[in-house]
């Protein structure tokens, strides 16, 4: 056991279901940084699908469930700006008028972080030991960027990865068109947005696209593959954890799993 902080991994539903390797990468990065990482059992989803569909009542039930399951830890960390933002920014707002829960929500919110910014801003990690040969480009997911101010952090850690060359993406701060349920409720508009994004990604000439949120990554990977663009898509944590040799998102698993 390390003397470092006790961290609960909020794995997020998309990582849990679609890409467990991102969860393992997150655990490795935090353990390497001296944390004790645990995965509370009572976790499902942060509640955004309900929250953004106007179902406040169910969202509150889910929020309380998450708070109860996670508040005993020093920190809560999610490999997603969107889910971390939900817990740190939106739970306190949702429960602000609930005398039993307002303080608990605020306290948990203050200890909840997105993975990469947790490594750099909280643990003051400046460099990780990892190698990844090739040119990558990086998309800034909206919630991480605008709710949590995540922009420089992933770039600074990627800068220290051996063999990795980062080529900036034009309009990297413009939404990829995922938007949770938005992409299935308004597929035509979402498609236009992800098509514009794809054009910029391909224009960088990078072989690999990285980002910090599975929703955006699955959206962009799915579009790049549908249109036959030769760009591999990975979560930034996988590359930073030295797990960049896993099959990329949407590629066959070679019998694993």
């Amino acid at each position: 056991m390390s003397d470092g902080p006790r961290v609960a991994l909020f794995v997020t539903c998309l990582v849990d279901l679609f890409r467990p390797s991102v969860g393992f990468a997150a655990v490795k990065l935090m353990q390497d940084a001296g944390c004790t990482v645990e995965v509370p059992e009572a976790q499902t989803c942060c509640g955004q699908p309900a929250y953004n569909s106007g179902d406040r009542k169910d969202t509150i039930v889910i929020a309380r469930q998450v708070i109860a399951a996670f508040e005993e830890f020093d920190y809560v960390v999610a490999p997603s700006g969107s889910c971390a933002g939900m817990i740190s920014k939106h739970y306190p707002e949702l429960l602000a008028d609930d005398p039993d829960w307002a303080d608990r929500a605020t306290a948990l919110g203050a200890r909840t972080h997105e993975l990469i910014s947790f490594l750099t801003d909280v643990l003051s990690i400046e460099k990780v030991e990892a190698a990844f040969e090739g040119t990558v480009t990086y998309h800034d997911s909206c919630s991480g960027l605008r709710e949590l101010g995540i922009h420089a952090q992933p770039r600074s850690l990627l800068d220290g990865v051996d063999g990795l060359h980062l080529r900036e993406l034009e309009d990297s701060n413009v939404c990829c068109g995922f938007g949770g349920t938005f992409c299935v409720k308004y597929p035509d508009i979402s498609n236009n947005m992800v098509s514009n994004k794809m054009e910029k990604i391909v224009a960088t000439g990078a072989e690999t696209l990285l980002a910090g949120d599975m929703g955006c990554l699955m959206n962009m990977a799915g579009k790049l593959q549908r249109d036959g663009a030769n760009v591999r898509v990975r979560h930034v944590a996988e590359v930073l954890a030295g797990m960049g040799d896993e099959p990329a998102i949407g590629e066959p698993q070679d019998g694993k799993g």
């Binding site: 655990v27 009572a42 939404c175 299935v184 799993g257």
Partner: protein, 478 residues
């Protein structure tokens, strides 16, 4: 007559509207051209003014204070207008405002009304009302003039014809200006501008009434302010013998100083200009010794649902100064243009304001058609939390069972499991094993039942296999 009966919106058809606009090549070309211009312009203007963010905070403070004391400042304003010889008319609904305009026009036997750009004019559909009464409305803002020729509505609150290409404007001019030489060259934007100017110059002297909007109303002086880049507003309001100002009541600010603060963020946010070319203050009718000006000065203060937003979760929307930065930076607006939204106010500000003015049952799509990327709030000079308020409209829809049945059922099933971790893990574990097995050869799926919205345009990456939680619980570590 209620306002909703005068509303002609196609917002209920938003999805179809959007599909049509996405397939409209002229529109897509026009939107692509405008995008960089607005976004880069604002960014440069912001970078060149170190106190820009301080000014935004001040501007927000001014409006919050004013909204808190709205009745006080409106009454103070009215008093000053009357003192300077003008008239103030209070209009609860769009129909009331129409009626007041018509009564004023009839009192001077008006045949023609010249108009500066006014979104309130669009909101109350004043052109239709004038035409029905045998009065000719002439739009003098170039963009508004163009869309009037084409019988269209504005697609943007500050750039009404932004949806058109130069070639479309040229075609409209040739079709309408038949008195001019057919062989004239009209390829350059400047030649189009010159032609419109020549045509409009004559018309300035023919109107009995001039109507303008107002960017701001000032309680301290009883003045109204318009900002334009063409000077058309000045000619529209100075030459006719009657000037009518159409304004919604939240345009009020306490002092000239406050107006100056807001003007410093307005043009920078809108077009990237430090200041608009013309900033015109009007205070009452022509006084003795004034070289020019109208004989009558009327202000119509429109409510039309705005005071109902006071004290609700939508109050902050009343800070809006109509700069258009939210739509200029919105990837949804940039995809579909303004007409898709189906009513007067497009983009994020419209997605919050329109349900307030015409009802969430009518405009319910609009607050849903957002990915919540947050760029609108980021660039809003008045710090209006637009995504948050769109979410509040979704809550109202959900509560009043206006959300589509399929969405409610899907959400209900999802939430049943999300609230029960063990069941959730069991059910999702099985689903993921299934999806993973289906996609084992290619690593992705091109078609999945119940996920057509996703797979219509993109592949669905197959899950890696077992879920993270089940692998973790069975002791797997890195």
């Amino acid at each position: 007559m209620t306002t909703s009966s005068t509303v002609h919106s196609t917002s209920r058809n938003f999805k179809n509207n959007a599909r049509d606009q996405l397939a409209n090549e002229d529109l897509q070309a026009a939107l692509n051209k405008a995008r960089g211009h607005f976004v880069d312009g604002r960014a440069t203007a912001r970078d060149n003014l170190p106190e820009f963010d301080d000014l935004r905070d001040q501007a927000r403070g001014i409006k919050d204070h004013t909204l808190e004391h709205l009745d006080f400042y409106l009454e103070a304003y009215e008093e000053k207008v009357v003192e300077s010889g003008g008239h103030v008319h209070w209009a609860r609904t769009a129909a009331d405002a129409q009626q007041i305009v018509l009564d004023i026009c009839r009192s001077v036997d008006a045949k023609q009304v010249n108009k500066g750009k006014s979104m309130i004019g669009e909101e109350i559909e004043i052109n239709k009302a004038l035409e029905a009464d045998g009065i000719r409305p002439i739009e003098t803002d170039l963009g508004e003039y163009i869309i009037q020729l084409r019988g269209e509505l504005p697609s943007h609150i500050i750039a009404p014809a932004v949806h058109l290409t130069k070639a479309q404007v040229e075609a409209s001019f040739r079709e309408n200006h038949t008195e001019l030489d057919e062989d004239r060259v009209l390829e350059e934007p400047l030649s189009l501008l010159d032609e419109a100017r020549t045509i409009l110059r004559k018309k300035y002297f023919e109107a009995e009434v001039g109507i303008t909007g107002a960017n701001l109303l000032i309680a301290e002086t009883g003045s109204s302010i318009i900002v334009t880049n063409e000077g058309n507003g000045d000619l529209s309001q100075l030459i006719p013998k009657v000037h009518i100002v159409l304004a919604s009541l939240e345009k009020i600010v306490p002092t000239l100083e406050d107006a100056a603060t807001i003007l410093r963020v307005l043009a920078r946010s809108a077009t990237g200009q430090e200041f608009s070319s013309y900033t015109t203050l009007s205070t009452g009718p022509k006084r003795e010794g004034d070289p020019d000006g109208p004989e009558q000065y009327h202000v119509i203060l429109l409510d039309n649902g705005r005071t109902d937003m006071l004290g609700t979760e939508f109050e902050e929307m009343l800070r809006c100064i109509r700069c258009g930065a939210c739509m200029n930076h919105c990837p949804v607006y940039q995809s579909v243009g303004g007409h898709a939204y189906g009513w007067v106010y497009p983009g994020p500000m419209g997605s919050v304001l329109s349900p307030g003015l015409i009802g969430v049952d009518e405009a319910g799509h609009l607050p849903n058609a957002s990915s919540f990327c947050g760029r609108c709030e980021e660039v809003c000079p008045m710090h209006i939390p637009l995504p948050k308020m769109m979410r509040h409209w979704r809550e109202r829809e959900f509560e009043s069972h206006l959300s589509p049945g399929s969405v409610r059922v899907g959400l209900g099933v999802w939430s049943f499991f999300a609230r029960r971790p063990r069941l959730y893990q069991l059910a999702t574990g099985l689903q993921m094993r299934m999806l993973s097995w289906m996609g084992r050869k290619r690593g992705r799926l091109s078609s999945v039942p119940l996920a057509k919205g996703w797979t219509k345009y993109r592949e669905l990456p197959a899950p890696q296999g077992r879920t993270f939680q089940s692998r973790w619980r069975s002791g797997e570590r890195v």
